[in-house]
């Protein structure tokens, strides 16, 4: 009973924490996950995963980090293409699930039961039961799918497709694609507003972010990013839903978009070639994975500048926060 009480208290502390304990970083070239102490920047663990590590997400309970792994064989599903589950406490890979061919990005349902992953070279998305480890659906989406984002209520999953310039909408209950719509050129990532009313899609080639009506699944408008000169990739919405932060890849900075006016209102330099990013629960700290400088930037959004840089593995692709 005592143990249970301690556990519940611990969970309550972590659930309520506003700043992360750790930052988990996927390193595509070094094929590792770096676990970074969020306060000190010290590397507390380097976890080998054996394959190219890209998409990374923390489970809703904060105990597990999932990583999309793929091998170097294009267009062929192989044992190297999988989703690995890393136990945060033991800092080791504790499970490997089939992730379809060449899994890249994925999203975990709010209840932690289902994982949806895009399969870049197969043009599909898979739904994976995280309890049984079995694939429960394989769905046809656009060509060269990448970004996967799930609505806050868990009902809708958006999958971007870079060649088709499309978003496929998956209904989680029916496990089928119920709509497709076009966006701008080369959509990479998607993110939902906290209230689920809107979603946002980055478009790398057109240098824009598309604003999507999250209920009708229709394009509302496009916002030019970084003077349409940036290469928007990762994006994240602030917890209060007021601002959107966009990783601009080639221009080595992030853009800040005011979601009331739908205008870009600022830019902050970070490391080289930021691809993906994460934000703390209190909305103060933003973290970027910088693919070409092998580090992550810590941005103080109150001060509006990068305040720390932490070295990680080679070619960091993405990151996820652990509380």
């Amino acid at each position: 009973m005592m143990k249970l009480a301690v556990l519940l208290a611990s969970l309550a502390v972590h659930a309520g924490a506003q700043t992360p304990r750790f930052i988990a970083v996927s390193n595509e070239l070094s094929r590792t996950i770096t676990l970074v102490d969020a306060k000190t920047g010290a590397t507390v663990a380097t976890i080998p995963v054996g394959q190219r590590a890209r998409g990374i997400q923390t489970a809703p309970d904060g105990k597990t980090v999932y990583v999309a792994l793929s091998d170097d064989k294009p267009n062929v599903a192989s044992p190297g293409d999988l989703i690995a589950a890393i136990d945060v406490a033991s800092r080791s890979v504790v499970a490997r699930f089939p992730g379809g061919s060449d899994p890249e990005q994925f999203a975990v349902s709010p209840d932690g039961r289902t994982l949806y992953a895009s399969n870049e070279d197969a043009g599909t998305a898979v739904a994976l039961n995280l309890r049984t480890g079995r694939t429960i659906a394989t769905l046809i989406v656009g060509i060269e799918p990448e970004g996967v984002a799930i609505s806050p209520n868990g009902q809708w999953i958006y999958v971007t497709a870079e060649t088709s310039n499309s978003i496929s909408v998956i209904d989680a209950k029916r496990r089928r694609v119920v709509a497709n719509f076009l966006v701008d050129s080369r959509p990479r990532a998607a993110a939902w507003a906290p209230d689920g009313a809107r979603a946002y899609v980055s478009n790398e080639i057109s240098g824009t972010v598309c604003v999507i009506d999250g209920r009708s699944h229709e394009l509302i408008t496009s916002i030019p990013i970084d003077g349409a000169q940036g290469k928007p990739v990762g994006l994240v919405v602030a917890p209060d839903g007021r601002r959107l932060y966009v990783a601009n890849g080639r221009t080595d900075r992030i853009s800040i978009v005011d979601l009331r006016t739908l205008k870009e209102v600022g830019r902050i330099p970070v490391g080289r070639r930021p691809w993906n990013l994460a934000i703390s629960r209190d909305g103060r700290w933003l973290y970027t994975a910088n693919g070409m400088s092998d580090d992550i930037s810590v941005v103080d959004l109150t001060a509006g500048r990068t305040v720390k840089t932490y070295k990680v593995g080679r070619r960091p692709w993405g990151l996820s926060l652990i509380y």
Partner: protein, 238 residues
């Protein structure tokens, strides 16, 4: 399996809703008919067209559309009303076709009609590097989805994607995307879309590609050096 009335109604409503959502982009039976003409000396263009048509149809099906390729190379009797647009590898003399149909020209021999859009780069700069050449595309390109495109092409065709193959693939992509964005395969609407200043296309070259006022595709080129182990050594901005 016995389907209950409630389940049947539920499934039917769900199917209808899904169809309604999917087909907002397309009238029933929407189809883009793309006629193509190549000659026997253009195998890479023929392969690129086959690959491009398959990918264009794959993308179009997401929206309830189909893309159908009509090969004119050996069917001279095809009526001008049998297709909505043309992709032509051979010299373009528009009198052979129709002044109202969009024509994407892959060769540089064109009569310059207002409905002809030139995809090839017909006056490329000379390569100043020793032993180098300027190309439209190369199998060693990796960024902005080039590696994925090269991989898909090699898996489908069994050879590396050349500049000619890229041209043909891109031509099919441009037409399918124009029809989807114009929500029509009507020739006039396709021409209007292709001529509009806002029309931009992703050819996996890292920048939006568009047609200039003379309907020539504005695109980056690549300086390549080497033979069997050839690599891109420099990009030439459009």
């Amino acid at each position: 399996m016995i389907i209950t009335r409630r389940r049947f109604v539920s499934q039917s409503l769900a199917s209808l809703a899904a169809t309604a959502l999917a087909t907002r982009w397309a009238p029933p039976g929407a189809e883009l008919r793309v006629a193509t003409r190549v000659d026997a000396t253009q195998p890479d263009i023929a392969d690129g067209l086959a690959f491009g048509a398959a990918e264009a149809d794959r993308s179009a099906q997401l929206f309830g559309w189909r893309v159908r390729r009509i090969d004119l190379s050996d069917s001279a009797s095809t009526s001008r009303n049998d297709y909505d647009a043309l992709v032509v590898g051979t010299p373009v003399h528009i009198a052979t076709y129709d002044v109202h149909v969009p024509v994407l020209a892959l060769s540089c021999a064109s009569d310059g009609s207002a409905n002809v859009f030139q995809l090839n780069s017909c006056s490329p700069p000379a390569a100043t590097d020793a032993g180098a050449r300027v190309v439209l595309w190369h199998a060693s390109l990796e960024r902005f989805g080039a590696e994925q495109l090269n991989d898909r092409y090699r898996a489908a065709i069994g050879r590396a994607m050349t500049g000619d193959a890229w041209l043909a693939w891109f031509g099919m992509k441009v037409l399918a995307e124009s029809a989807l964005r114009a929500r029509s395969s009507d020739r006039t609407k396709l021409l209007d879309y292709l001529r509009s200043p806002s029309a931009q296309f992703d050819g996996h070259k890292g920048v939006p590609l568009h047609f200039d006022a003379q309907r020539r595709l504005v695109q980056p080129l690549y300086v390549v050096r080497g033979a069997a182990d050839a690599r891109v050594i420099r990009e030439i901005d459009p």
